[in-house]
Amino acid sequence: MIKVRDIAKSYGEKKVVDDVSLSIEKGKITSMIGPNGAGKSTVISMITRLLDKDSGEVLIEGDNIFTQPNNELAKKISILKQSNHLELKITVRELVSFGRYPYSKGRLKDEDHRVIDEAIEYMELEELEDRYIDELSGGQRQRAYIAMTIVQDTEYIFLDEPLNNLDMKHSVQIMQILRRLVREKNKTIIIVIHDINFASCYSDNIVALKNGKIAISGTKHEVIKKSILEEIYEMEINIQCIFGHNICIYFDDQIGDVTENDAKEYAQTVQHEQLRA
């Protein structure tokens, strides 16, 4: 379990993260949501020691994260930041192999190659493994980076907006992979995510941030509620239960003159049809 106590960060006068405390449950997917500028990425960067914090502490299984040797920490926590643009001549397989660096220091052994093969298969990258990274599409590249984190084989995996610039199909694919990682490999995954419906459908716990503070933190059922979300995002949000998932409808209700009743009726018909099929 990771416990975060009162971490804070200011840039000049502005407090970007204001005494945030939270705990991350093992073997679950925890989503961080909140408006732009709420401090989500900053919190994640501080927890994973990419960014120095002004105050507070981060404990992993009770031990302070900053007193641990970098290399040992790299076997416990991995972090993948958003917008990974590389101008390197590097193939998918070479990139994925970097994930073994904390273990092999660049000299790959048989065991390392086995883990790399496994991850490439897991992320369905076999056909791409000899392609250069800059020749891939956004979804393929994101899969390659996630394969690198899988190879790193850490208990905790932090992902900063892994769905950025991906279409629905690839977003769903990535989220399914994350669920599989939790289910099959018992990983603990923390993601920063903008689409609240992805958060609602695929995560176990949700932490909502606003203005550098925790607005609410709890299971997804506790957080995905009309009154709570409306306060965080300062807009009207309706929530419908579709196929057992709480789906937020936040589009301007003037579009196409859809009333709340229409929406409810439509959802019911869809559900009926689904049941019949």
Partner: protein, 319 residues
């Protein structure tokens, strides 16, 4: 398969470097002055190897840190500062000043001042510009122009005789290198490279960028500070020994990138060192045998390197 080709390429380049050195040593030997020619050429070859390796290694690492292939320490104003230091010596001390005439004193004063300047640029400007490459390049060019103009200003004020003496020190040249300085520079370069040697793999990780490197357990910020000190020492030692070779690093490292098309520093560093030696030996042959020593080597290198620099800029702007 890819690895095999890269290893073969290294081998070919190494053979090329050895062959060019042998060619230079044996070309047009005159039996009458044989015992003068061989040691004098050997000394130049030693200087070429030391400087070539120092510039190549430092430029590869520098470009990995700043993630840019057209920035080099020399382009960031280091060469102008060298010219400024040399000019100041003659301006304030006169042509007969002890520092200017004593090549050892000159070497050490130049080297220390260059290291100080480089470290200042690295430590403060990198933080100040938040590693923004364009801002860095701009400030580097402004600093270069500033020191260049200050030097020109002082050169206008000194007597023509003094200026002629000064001019000898302003162009990079392997023709008149002090033997004991050769040893000192050689040792400095060797020690610096031994430090880097054990870091080839972490350099590879660092080329992924700060976030990835930290994630993989590399203490990025500390590594960068250490490496910047090594770069400053390498470049300053090389420049103090033979004078400015502005575009040498840019030329050889970019050729190495095109030859190897890999991110791995083992290949990039050894490869650019070999290319660097080959370039300098051939340059030396051209000025020594074709122009009879009438032209300085740095002029040839800068002509070729400068053209290549323009080509790189044009190609970049197209993409």
């Amino acid at each position: 398969m890819l690895k095999m080709t890269n290893k073969k390429l290294i081998l070919i380049l190494a053979l090329g470097a050895v062959a060019s050195i042998v060619l230079y040593m044996l070309y047009d030997l005159n039996p009458a002055i044989f015992f003068y020619q061989i040691p004098s050429r050997a000394k130049r070859v030693a200087a070429i190897v030391i400087v070539g390796v120092a510039i190549a290694v430092s430029t590869v690492i520098f470009q990995t840190i700043v993630k840019n292939r057209i920035l080099t320490p020399s382009i960031m104003g280091l060469d102008s500062v060298y010219v400024f230091i040399q000019t100041s010596m003659i301006f304030f001390g006169g042509a007969s000043s002890a520092i200017l005439l004593n090549s050892k004193a000159n070497y050490f004063v130049s080297m220390v001042l260059l290291v100080i300047f480089t470290l200042f640029v690295f430590k403060f400007l990198f933080k100040f510009t938040k590693n923004n490459v364009f801002l860095l390049l701009l400030i580097g060019i402004i600093l270069g122009t500033l020191f260049g103009n200050l030097a020109t200003f002082m050169q206008m004020m000194i007597s023509p005789e003094d200026f002629l003496i000064l001019q000898n020190n302003l162009f990079g040249s392997f023709s008149a290198v002090d033997e004991s300085l050769l040893w000192i520079t050689g040792i400095i370069v060797l020690v610096s490279i031994l430090f880097v040697l054990k870091d080839f793999n972490s350099l590879d990780v660092m080329s992924l960028g700060r976030d990835h490197a930290m994630n993989l357990g590399v203490n990025y910020d500390r590594k960068v500070s250490q490496l910047l000190v090594i770069i400053a020492v390498l470049v300053s030692a090389a420049t103090a020994l033979v004078g400015p070779m502005m575009f040498l690093g840019l030329l050889v490292v970019n050729i190495a990138h095109e030859v190897f098309s890999t991110y791995r520093h083992v290949y990039l560093i050894i490869g650019s060192a070999m290319i660097s030696i080959i370039t300098l030996v051939f340059g030396q042959m051209i000025i020594q045998f074709m122009f009879d020593g009438g032209v300085e080597l740095s002029i040839i290198i800068n002509l070729v390197g400068g053209l290549y620099f323009i080509y790189l800029m044009l190609r970049r702007s197209k993409i």
